[in-house]
Symmetry: C2
Subunit: 194 residues, 2 copies
DNA sequence: GTCTATAATTCGATAGAC
DNA sequence: GTCTATCGAATTATAGAC
């Protein structure tokens, strides 16, 4: 029962097609948002028939849910020098986004699609809050610290990838890290104001 | 030629209707985004016929352009104590938004509508950069400082009004000001990193 | 100025042949 | 598994009566 022929392998022709659909869907959702991205256009990009999209993913919502699966892949913050938490986080986020348009798709869709907004809340409320909680002292402040971090991180993504403000687009990732890291550092470990 | 009868007064029945349309349009665009907000729904809210919207504003794009007119109404920053610039700015933005949903409409639409994104760029690149330039020392840094401020300000609005992250929704404006003011202060007047 | 009627598209989704 | 054909609904926009 070592290997090749079949039986335990459900993957055949369809897996390549499914992957092509997801890739095209991410592109379109990222570029056009949820409403303007049509199943027909996605299917054309993937060079398959539109009805295949429905067959594989049931509906447009189902397709989006599959295409916008996103994991922040946050590193273990307990092994990071406490004074460098902000820097590590900004670097991580920028690197994570520059190579994967899934978050842009999610960001654009979250503006108009309730399901996408809900997923965004889940990602930043669960994954990020969880990471912040691993080292935070005061549990009652953890959620707020995570929310503030999310506000700066998502504002960075929004101005750089969605609105495309020229100064935010032209600035290199390293320069952005230098400016933004102290902000996150204070949100994460700073003394609560008054 | 003092007063009432007519001649120099083009406003008659239509002005109230136009205002009602704009109000309903801002509500719908803010709540649903550009694509999902339909002319029919806006007309129903304003209790007028859908064709009147077309007659007055020509097209859906034209209606949005009229409804999403937005002025930051930035105060004169030269009369603000330099050490309190961040605080004054956050306070101003929060107050400006809590009572006017136009920015939320613009924010939501900017994700999918190129024209709305262009307007957003104009607002933050012109109005904000102009205000920052009035006191900034190094002109080459002015655009970048304004962009960074925009990133935190728009991230605040995005997480609080669009995605509605619970910790950002539950926090009072005063508490938000306390946390965010130092960030803007550093973006505006801080020493450039390395 | 206001409304009815409808044109012209476009979309998501379905049925069914092969 | 894949594709053709099409349904039914919704949209912006227009033409024209009153």
């Amino acid at each position: 029962m070592t290997s090749s022929t079949r039986s335990t392998q459900p993957r055949r022709r369809s897996d390549a097609t499914r992957a092509a659909i997801l890739r095209a869907a991410r592109e379109r959702f990222a570029a056009d948002g949820y409403e303007r991205a049509t199943i027909r256009a996605i299917a054309a990009d993937a060079q398959i028939d539109p009805s295949m999209v429905m067959r594989y993913y049931g509906s447009k919502e189902g397709l989006f849910a599959a295409a916008a699966e996103f994991d922040l892949r946050l590193p273990d913050l307990t092994s990071v020098p406490p004074a460098r938490l902000g820097e590590v986080l900004v670097k991580h986020f920028l690197a994570r986004w520059e190579g994967d348009e899934t978050l842009v798709a999610l960001l654009r869709a979250a503006s108009t699609n309730p399901g996408a907004a809900e997923r965004m809340r889940g990602i930043f409320a669960d994954q990020l809050t969880g990471a912040v909680a691993t080292f935070g002292a005061d549990p009652t402040l953890t959620a707020r610290r995570a929310g503030l971090v999310a506000s700066q991180i998502l504002g960075l993504a929004f101005t750089r990838y969605i609105v495309r403000l020229p100064p935010m687009v032209d600035t290199t990732p390293d320069e952005l890290v230098s400016w933004v890291a102290p902000t996150l550092q204070r949100y994460l470990t700073g003394t609560p104001p008054s």
